[in-house]
Symmetry: C2
Subunit: 345 residues, 2 copies
DNA sequence: TTGTAGGCGTTATCAG
DNA sequence: CTGATAACGCCTACAA
């Protein structure tokens, strides 16, 4: 590998000058700069990023933490893929790189380890849940002043730097939409309560129901774990109370689709016998039959914003305020929620 | 940050000894080792990975290259997600980290840049296509002896280190299965020819057809670009020749589902009016209605194997043979390919 | 505007 | 078994 030294020699300048040229620092004679660049090109010199990191005492890497649970599909790949793309875009704009960490959630979760090795300057944490271990780990990070940003999750009573979507509003609108289509008996299939989103969505659902003066008997409240399978399994419970249900709002697309599958087996077809709206507006929503109405969540933008703000915090001397940013959602109406027949006996 | 020096002082040994302890090198008195570890724990010392990389002249990072094309969904997120998980698993086993690079395929694709900065020791390249630029870039990498491994792609006439699935065999079996179910008029919806998989699948399809003594009139050969939309659009062409089609083999699940959607709009229901088999066995196959029969491709294992072999090459002095590894596929039969009615008029 | 020189935290080589 | 001591490639005051 060709080093700065060789470039300096060829250009007839000092090594420091080569550095200045490559970092655009200080005033310098254009001729000098020219010579250096020429020499560098000739030798095919490229700064050694590791050495730079070493000298600057920062890695230039943004850590991205993903939950790793093979064979368990609580999250859709779509979700992470979008967020990762957003992070990736931002990171490139700022000259950073992305270091991916797949962490098994149940292993003694120690986020500080990521920073100790100095391989990352900050982290974006995806897919975290509200468990005692995670709270502990995150509080520890915060106490040590290590910069991080949570995406799509918040912790009751704690204040972290986080980027979220407005799930309360999104859910509210979804349920409102169903009401406007004429449905009154609207069930809610929520996901695991460990995700703050679940609470948000419940809140939005309840708000819309109560504003419309609608009762919410317990049979209308179902719970899955965000997997397709859990939605599929929820079908049997819902089926028992089918005379009390005209529509469903599900906390994600996968559960919605699973539920549709379960009900279809019983002869209940979404968009015909009942309406349903999912959440995430993932590609699965377009693949399902009928196409699934869904709440669009700007995952890409959330990833991008998370990366942007956590990296911005690095520049401003780690003075990251623990702010919560909420991005807006929107409703995408497809066939699954169109009123065809309203069995409002 | 606490450094080796401080540990050495506290333990009353030299810095070199501290390093030896942490690297498990050379024989040493247990008592010494004990003291060092004790001191390290007390000070909460952890080696600085950047400094180590610098001194060792290797980053300890495996680069993972993903094609980045926002809004264009030629690949399913499932695909990358599985491969990434496999890579992630292997990488952790070997104490490496994963550095993610999202590269826009049409930008002047220069893979060598990744290595020049020394931020990665080797790369796994996903989603590459057979274009002149990519050939050029890869040949350049190879010429410079930079270690890399391609996943799910090969280049006619060039020999790279690559991990692939046996798509010829998989396609062959899918078509054979359709034949065994009694179908004779079997169409093939392929993806873009820039992906070597497409050629492989065509080969498998043709083999099965010719072995069964079946003609393949041109109307049976359709081409999409692996997106759902392209499958959806292929429906119209297929519909025109519907009297010549009883079944379809599609080169991926997304196109298969798009095609099913397009045909459903015309009243043709998969699993009833025609049979269809997709490829990838992605989660979408389970979400679709009817559930889609599909060729299972071991993406996870492919990612893992790619990481394993490319990292192994690093140890053995870069003596990576440019081998092609092919992992086996298998057929997963779901409702979309079950013979219900055979309209074999 | 440019050069000098110390330092970053390890690894690795050589003595002892 | 352990301790010095050069690298490693670059950054950055500080000096000129």
């Amino acid at each position: 590998m060709v080093t700065r030294k060789e470039v300096a020699e060829l250009a007839g300048v000092s090594e420091a000058t080569v550095s200045r040229v490559f970092n655009g620092l200080g005033p310098m004679k254009p001729a000098t700069k020219e010579r250096v660049l020429e020499a560098a090109k000739q030798l095919n010199y490229h700064p050694n990023a590791i050495a730079q990191s070493f000298a600057r005492r920062r890695s230039g890497n943004l850590g991205v933490v993903l939950p790793y649970m093979p064979k368990v599909h609580l999250f859709s790949a779509f979700y992470f893929s979008e967020i990762l793309s957003g992070i990736g875009e931002q990171v490139r704009e700022q000259g950073y790189d992305m270091l991916l960490s797949l962490l098994t959630p149940d292993e003694s979760l120690d986020y500080t380890r990521l920073y100790r090795s100095q391989k990352v300057d900050a982290c974006v944490i995806l897919g975290s849940r509200d468990t005692p271990q995670q709270r502990e780990s995150l509080m520890q990070l915060q106490a040590q002043g290590l910069p991080f940003c949570l995406v799509n999750q918040s912790f009751e009573g704690l204040s972290f730097h986080e980027v979220d979507a407005d799930h309360v509003e999104g859910s509210y609108r979804a349920v409102r939409h169903l009401q406007e289509e004429g449905y009154r008996k609207i069930a809610f299939l929520n996901g695991s309560p460990q995700y703050s989103n679940s609470g948000d969505r419940l809140q939005g659902y309840m708000k819309a129901m109560s504003e419309a003066g609608l009762e919410v008997p317990p049979e209308l409240l179902l719970e899955g774990n965000y997997s397709r399978k859990s939605g599929y399994e929820a079908a049997s419970g819902l089926w028992e109370h089918r005379d009390q249900v005209e529509a469903v709002f599900a906390a994600n697309d996968r559960m919605a689709i699973g539920l549709m599958q379960g009900l279809r087996e019983r002869g209940w077809i979404a968009g015909r016998d009942f309406a349903i709206i999912g959440c995430d507006d993932s590609d699965a929503a377009k693949l399902s039959d009928p196409p699934l109405s869904s709440i669009n969540v700007p995952f890409y933008e959330m990833g991008k914003e998370a990366a942007r703000s956590v990296l911005a915090g690095l520049l401003h001397g780690g003075g990251t305020k623990d702010t919560r940013i909420k991005l807006p959602t929107s409703l995408v109406v497809r066939q699954s929620s169109r009123a065809v027949i309203i069995n409002d006996s």
